[in-house]
């Protein structure tokens, strides 16, 4: 087998040194009745060529985003990722290294994490950011738990504009822990009155902007309401590129900012791996979940970086830890940092502008289609369309015409009477022709 360096000669010599007759002697602690006395009912080893053929065959039964005019968002976004990013994250020294517990020979990863933390803090306009969570949804769940710890309260209020998967994740954990998670109904027009839901048991309000329908939300009034009641404001985003153009949550008074970082540096990957961003105010630092990298000096006084404040973490604090997270999204946060470094301030702003411009253009095209209505007053690169008829069928029709045209709201909020809504995104990857093709196809169907 090509991956196994030992051959039978080696194995014999090693058994001899160990002083046993056979490999099975080393497995003798398995109760005899429990030893597997047959081969696993699975195929035998395959050559690289054959494995590649089979997997390529499966891959060929999917329609890649790059092969069609593509307008799907709703929590995961397709952007152009510079070729250098993928090259760099595949460097052996990044790809095949472990969590940097031995800092002297892990400065590459550690310095990159330190850069990541600084970038995330800057993007969100917050004081401190951690070294990543699994994804935006679990980061949101962790934020809620952190708010409970900080406030010593147990009720979260979830906006109806929060991505429904995120809300599900929070609700699932809340149910398990006998905490309260009050979910508002789907809030298509960003019209809900969240402040009215805050009471003295409320630990936090969780609100997303741009929200799941694409609306931009001014969080400042809500922040004031939270402050008044001693609750924390948790701001969520699923499209990190938006932060290049819109007011950051930190500037609107958020206490914790969490979000999905996939759209910078990371591909769609059918939903994972992604990278959860997590930032908060300095005063809550010790209640923060997740790994942190900090600056220090070595024995010669040179600057260096180490993992720090691990007394918050599971491997030290065990059941008193601020989170059970161990493996996080290391390589994805590296890709995020590399892409953002390539963009820089000027590039990110320009990228965000182009995204917005493309979405505005697309919305303008739809506005001219009879029976179709753009519902948003404001948006970044994604908005909600009302279509004449079930959006799920329209999306399927579009797919058959070779256009991946959005997400039916009914797929995200089943049973909520949103059947005629679809959520549509347009990023820098869409050409004029793509948008024209989409509008024309929709005109034909709608």
């Amino acid at each position: 087998m090509r991956y196994l360096p030992l051959n039978s000669e080696d194995r014999s010599e090693m058994l001899a040194r160990i002083g046993v007759d056979s490999i099975d002697a080393l497995f003798s602690s398995i109760p005899e009745a429990s030893r597997l006395s047959r081969d696993l009912d699975l195929p035998l080893r395959r050559s690289e060529m054959e494995t590649q053929r089979l997997l390529s065959g499966m891959a060929a039964r999917n329609t890649p985003a790059s092969s069609a005019p593509f307008f799907i968002g709703a929590g995961a976004y397709k952007h152009h990722i510079p070729a250098s990013v993928d090259h760099l994250i595949q460097r052996s020294e990044f790809l095949t290294s472990y969590t940097p517990y031995q800092p002297e020979i892990s400065q590459g990863t550690l310095q990159a994490i330190f850069e990541f933390q600084t970038q995330v803090a800057a993007l969100t306009a917050m004081d401190v950011a951690n070294a990543s969570m699994y994804d935006g949804s679990t980061a949101t769940m962790e934020a809620v738990l952190m708010a409970h710890r900080v406030t010593k309260r147990r009720k979260a209020v979830l906006s109806g504009g929060l991505h429904p998967h995120y809300a599900d994740v929070v609700r699932t954990v809340s149910k398990m822990t006998d905490n309260d998670a009050l979910s508002l109904p789907p809030d298509v027009f960003a019209a809900e009155d969240l402040a009215a839901e805050i009471d003295e048991e409320t630990s936090c309000v969780v609100v997303q902007t741009p929200d799941a329908f694409g609306n931009l939300r001014d969080l400042s009034p809500l922040a004031a309401a939270c402050k008044e009641h001693g609750a924390l404001l948790i701001a969520v985003f699923t499209e990190a590129v938006s932060l290049g153009l819109v007011k950051p949550p930190g500037a609107m008074g958020a206490d914790i900012v969490v979000g999905e970082g996939q759209s910078i540096g990371n591909g769609l990957n059918f939903g994972g791996p992604y990278v959860g961003l997590f930032a908060t105010r300095q005063k809550y630092l010790r209640q923060m979940p997740g790994r942190l990298c900090g600056e220090t000096v070595d024995a010669d006084g040179r600057r260096g970086f180490v993992l720090t404040l691990s007394t918050r973490e599971q491997h030290i604090k065990r059941d008193k830890a601020t989170s059970s997270i161990c493996t996080n999204a290391g390589l994805c946060c590296l890709a995020f940092t590399m892409h953002l470094t390539l963009l820089g301030e000027a590039g990110l702003r320009q990228l965000a502008r182009v995204n917005h411009a493309n979405a505005v253009d697309l919305a303008g095209r739809f506005a001219q289609i009879y029976g179709v209505e753009v519902l948003n007053r404001s948006f970044f690169n994604e908005f909600t369309l009302r279509v004449p008829g079930p959006a799920a069928e329209i999306v399927e029709h579009l797919a058959q015409k070779g256009i991946l045209g959005g997400v039916p709201a009914s797929r995200l909020w089943p049973g909520e009477d949103l059947d005629d809504l679809m959520i549509v995104a347009s990023s820098e990857i869409n050409t004029d022709e793509d948008r024209a093709a989409f509008a024309s196809a929709l005109r034909g169907i709608a």
Partner: protein
Amino acid sequence: LEEGLIFEIGRPNVTGVDIDEPAPFETRLGALEREEPIGLPGLSEPEAMRHYVRLSQKNYSIDAGIYPLGSCTMKHNPRLNEAMARLPGFGDIHPLQPESTVAGALELISELSRWLMEMTGMPAVAMSPKAGAHGEACGMMAIKAAIAARGEAATRRIVLVPESAHGTNPASAALVGFATRTVPCGADGRVDLAALKGLLGPDVAAIMLTNPNTCGLLESDIVAIAEAMHEAGAYFYCDGANFNAIVGKTRPGDLGVDAMHINLHKTFSTPHGGGGPGAGPVVLSARLAPFAPVPFVQEGENGLRLVEHVEADSRSFGRMAAFHGQMGMFVRALSYMMSHGADGLRQASEDAVLSANYIRASLSDLMTQPFGDQPCMHEVLFDDAWLKPTGLSTLDFAKAMIDEGYHPMTIYFPLVAHGAMLIEPTESESKASLDLFIATLRDLAFSALDGELDRFVGAPHDAPRRRLDETRAARNPVLKWTAPAQEG
């Protein structure tokens, strides 16, 4: 050459990405346009390339040397898997594309599930957990849901955790709202069955047991433990971090396990990437299967079907994360499994165990083992008793390994061994590599026993950094770059 931070070498008006100016348009941002500068530096592409290449050169990696971290399973990461995960048909599909456009993705998830179920002997698997600890939480949630379904939610709130457990175990149990109680470890390094039985009662929900355990030993009483748990009305959660030792040799399902997460990034070699991403699917027994979270792929009349929501008649406990799990890792893991096949997977486990025992047999005359010299599984545990006379610590010994060109083993874990040194070579090392590693450790050990303290106390001497001051980092945390104060 020292490499500065991007904030020191970059400039906000520099970019390494060319983006065309959009045609003039009217914004629709409401009044929410960002006004203040963000504070992000940019680098041109050549500068960015050099920056990150240079940073990478300060890292150790499995590609460049043995990475003997016990419990972490740093093995060869085949590049075929990277290539497969990057096929546009896997890497460039959206989780919310119409199902008709992702038939191959559902097929892959279904096929991977089949492999995981057969290898573990379990009838169901939840694919969405994002890493090992997330899988633990998933398993504990399934157990909690099952207990609630039995009407015992209020009473069964205790989870037993052995002393030697990974920290994630109690943390995950706590996340799910359980209280934990510690099970002591016997003189042989295994769970003390009698003590365990003494803890059982109507308040116990489950045990979380790593098998093989973190001392590198198989819990030989495992069947008895499972029976005891089940008799007491509790569940048996198995931490699958060390599953790589036993694939094809025994099946958790056959041992009485109710739930076990599988670290695809350990056992099935999806690369660690400096800390992630991982993937932690959880196999479930028939008793727990009904409570599995959404989403899942279901065999339907017209082929595979994706179930994304808790349907009316379902007992699913809910959702662990957005979308469908770590697809990128699924592809890599399946590529790894298909390459090995049933025969190769068993051989890999055997070679991993063989290599660990080879190291044990080659060092046991010099270094002490907390539970005596007995066959181990895929990792071998030493303690610091043998170092006592030298005055050196496990940390000193570990740091000295760096100067010899090696990454240290896992140290100070598990907690049941004093000054633990946990070595896991994996099946990826050649005998020549093992022999050189052994020779180096022996040389270091003799050196320590001979009192050559300088080789240890100041170590490492030849790494990109000398020993770093972790206390200072924690005492005054500097967690991001801030611009130095302007002169003037």
